[in-house]
Symmetry: C2
Subunit: 226 residues, 2 copies
DNA sequence: AATTAGTAATGTTTATTATACAATATATGT
DNA sequence: ACATATATTGTATAATAAACATTACTAATT
């Protein structure tokens, strides 16, 4: 019984989300060991004795993407005895939202972004973990504009709306979206305009430093679900 | 390094909430071993190899209260290296809402209900865990009438309002509360009345079986916070 | 210089929901 | 019958959400 307790292993796994190619993407690594050799998985690692769970998650995140100081939130702890086919591994899952302009990921055959709606077969219960992270991201967006964590520092309202639509998986009305967005605390209008498009340039906006967990207008209408 | 990993221990700890004496109460056990001998703690136990985290939490809950099939939700996983003064124990915290009429707790010097606003000194980080469970309960209440999990099977609207006020820690308007409550899916008016009071009896209501996570009107106005 | 094309920007009306607020009804005990 | 304590009910106003189409601007083309 005592030995039994001692054989649990605990890991952190991180769903790292960003916007790329007009879609939500998740960073996956290809496993080069059994079990699930050659299957894709979300990045993870063992929790070290000296670090807490947040620190372990941040360490793994930095190892993979070289970013720090981004939105990182504990998601859920998955502990099914059969989730790992060999040993008993309990994983504390996190999810991170990062700006594609901040990422320094050297992608390769073993590390790549995948569109969340076109996922390859995944190791362990990682499909479930990713799906839950998308649900949680939607819930967060209902409360506050976390989407700005995915947008570049300067962005147009159209880009912002697209990010919302991607996450919420529904179309939003442009006028109502803009009406709401301008009442959002922290959003600042810049005297700069987008250049890339060959059509009418759009005004750029930025978010002033928002303390997450600070008072915020809630944003996209909450689904009436429980 | 490999040994290091193997020395984590993982437990579940459960914040068990109920309404007693017109207040929210949490079930605490007095520790009879070091560390924190003679301090109060929330019930918990090691996760067994054969069970998942939910099952471990349900087992601990049943051991302490002899109730099953109640509202039980994973809260958060606490893994600070210093939360346990001796070894490295990561705990997956749950919270449970139970009806006082369903409880069969034999309270004693070592097992007792405590008003959440008058907590004794607690072992480990259990104070933080309880506070977080109260926050989560409020969040749940903003989405759906989980408070009925705390109410007896048949209850008056006044009792329901008091439960809400206790959890939300604010006064609610009686007329607005009732207007809202009657639009709540699942609430059923009974042709029975309370007897205990020596004044005008109040109509009793009940909740028809609600699937949690089913479609529900959200209920108490969400605080505009993030 | 005028035209075209593509995206950006904007306002009003209606419906729904939330809030504020006080008088009447009913059972019990005296 | 009267006093008392609690239960029950409605309306007016404010705030928020939702539905909906046209004009403005710039760059590229002719």
């Amino acid at each position: 019984m005592f030995n039994e307790i001692k054989t649990h292993e605990i890991t952190v796994d991180i769903v790292i989300l960003t916007i790329k190619n007009d879609a939500l993407n998740v960073l996956l690594v290809k496993r080069n060991n059994e079990p699930f050799k050659d299957k894709w998985a979300i990045p993870g690692g063992y929790v070290r004795m000296s670090e807490n769970l947040d620190e372990a998650a941040m360490r793994v995140l930095k190892e993979k993407t070289n970013v720090e100081n981004i939105y990182l939130e504990q998601l859920y702890t998955f502990g099914d005895p059969l989730r790992h086919p060999v040993s008993r591994v309990i994983t504390c899952a996190y999810f991170a939202l990062i700006r594609s302009e901040d990422v320094e990921v050297v992608t390769s055959d073993d590390l790549a972004w995948h569109n969340v709606s076109e996922l390859p077969p995944l190791a362990f219960d990682h499909k479930e973990i990713i799906e839950y992270s998308l649900k949680r991201t939607r819930e967060r967006l209902e409360m506050c504009p976390v989407a700005y964590q995915l947008l570049n520092e300067k962005f147009t309202l159209t880009e912002m709306q697209k990010a919302y639509e991607m996450i919420m998986e529904k179309k939003l009305d442009k006028r109502n979206f803009r009406k709401k967005v301008v009442t959002t605390e922290g959003l600042r209008e810049l005297n700069e305009f987008s250049k890339s498009s060959s059509k009418r340039p759009a005004r750029l906006y930025t978010f002033d430093n928002i303390k997450l967990n600070s008072k915020r207008a809630h944003f996209i209408k909450k689904e009436k679900q429980c």
